[in-house]
Symmetry: C2
Subunit: 304 residues, 2 copies
């Protein structure tokens, strides 16, 4: 087993980043991840206003993938996410979906019962739904803080990025350079308070590589759906980008006119909000595999 320990981490995805490990497609990797505060918040007395924001959203990695070149798709199958037993969740004045309403910083510890598959906040028990907040590859150029989502991935905070899902990333630089972190024990779509239940985790993935396939955005393939994940300056623009990408994929994959593809999306595709609180907002378009089989989508992404 390849293990990448949590002291191997980055705070930005950049075109020039150097790998801490090199693996081949098909290999399994265990990523040990920090929580989004890099462990700076250990109790309810540790407030977000008092920590060092240079150490926010670390991602473990990056890992180079042998043979991955620009124009390929890197597949990251999430085999398991094992979270630690204590998560934290916070609100910060000026942050979140209701920034002006938060009068004081608050930190809350969320205790996790892994045996029962639950966690507890304010006396209420919630089912555990572990997911990965930050996951991405090197961008074509420039430097993207790990707290920001974009076309290379990053802080997409998308609940579909969980055990059993494969996330496909368009490779932009040789080796792809995969890094991930910022796991949540549970998070609602929207993440309106600005955090989920932030928790260190051990994430096991198996890599795949498809040569000569391109996509404008990361694509999650769950047991039931193909999910295109778009991040933009506004929710409106993310809605447009996700809608455009799915309509285009449906059109090519199923051999429909643009208008018929749009009607099919109107009837059977769900636009969903991932998060509205990061520097860019994330919206995903989800299509059932029963409508758009992954084999047909792959052929369309290969330009066939």
């Amino acid at each position: 087993m390849n293990i990448v320990t949590s002291d191997n981490n980055i705070y930005a995805f950049s075109a020039e980043m150097k790998p801490v490990l090199e693996v081949s497609p098909g290999e399994r990797i265990l990523f040990e991840t920090n929580d989004c505060f890099a462990g700076q918040i250990g109790s309810e007395n540790d407030l977000c206003t008092e920590i060092n924001f240079d150490y926010i959203n670390p991602a473990t990695g990056p890992v180079a993938v042998r043979g991955a070149e620009k124009g390929d798709l890197l597949g990251v199958f999430i085999e398991d996410i094992r979270v630690e037993e204590q998560a934290v969740s916070v609100v910060i004045p000026g942050e979140g979906a209701l920034p002006g309403k938060v009068e004081k910083p608050v930190t809350r510890v969320v205790m996790i019962d892994r045996e029962k598959g639950t966690c507890t906040f304010a006396g209420i028990t919630l089912p555990l739904k572990p997911m990965i907040g930050v996951i991405g590859v090197a961008p074509e150029e420039g430097i993207f803080p790990t707290g920001t989502p974009a076309a290379h991935g990053g802080n997409m905070d998308t609940t579909d990025i969980r055990k059993g899902t494969t996330v496909w990333f368009p490779v932009r630089r040789s080796g792809a350079m995969l890094a991930l972190g910022d796991c949540h024990a549970v998070m609602g779509d929207g993440e309106i308070g600005c955090s989920g239940a932030e928790v260190p985790a051990r994430v096991t993935v198996v890599l795949d590589l498809l040569k000569g396939l391109s996509a404008p955005w990361p694509i999650a393939v769950t047991e039931k759906e193909i999910v295109i994940i778009a991040s933009e300056e506004s929710i409106e623009r993310a809605v447009t980008s996700a809608s455009e990408a799915m309509t285009d994929l449906v059109r090519k994959a199923l051999g429909l006119s643009f208008e018929d593809a749009l009607i099919l999306c109107s009837l059977s595709m769900d636009l969903r909000i991932s998060q509205v609180v990061d520097p860019k907002k994330t919206v995903r378009a989800a299509m059932p595999l029963s409508v758009l089989p992954w084999e047909k989508a792959k052929a369309a992404l290969a330009g066939r």
Copy 2:
């Protein structure tokens, strides 16, 4: 059984509208509804650019409810939605989530197999998911076209408004004045092409009335969730309104501080897109009943 036939309809919800029927809470009503085109589109040769837009989105009703006064909540339990066997779906240049990309108007007939519970478009079979697009009560003042959603309800195009759901409306005028129509055999969240599978239907509802409860937006209570439905000029503003309303309800109902209510919403509430293509955009905030029981929510809405 009280029956309201589809020739009793309105094209606007107004403060002054007059009922076609008066019933008491607890009564069952069958609404016969037109499709959103008022039957003007019968085949794929009938294009949206050639019909009379004065007759768009008719709602059957209105029905007055005895005893309903401003400050009450009217409950509409949807017992059944029986759709006809042929639906239509359209795209129109300049409309929908990708308005500049639609080059020509297209109408498609969607055939429904009620026995199998499916419908078919472009050779693809989709499960039937009947829902009500337009449902609302008289606004406090003014005139709202039935194509526009707002605080009184209207064209909310929300897939949760289906069989088994109770939709609660804040009553603003004596009698409440319930009307509904614009059913869809199936629609994806977002409705990006600008229509669902538009179909005439027979909708059976049972009414309930709670005295002295107020809410800022319509609330759908499904088998599993409490769903607050907000409609605003932009998706961003609808996100804010839905988030604010749910955080406030959670705070009051569970006796939490604002900050703790926001954290709980961040962890367990889903922000969902209803539609992005009407004159106002609709976003809903959904909270599991396991977190926010309806009895506690009702007490909070009563100010207790």
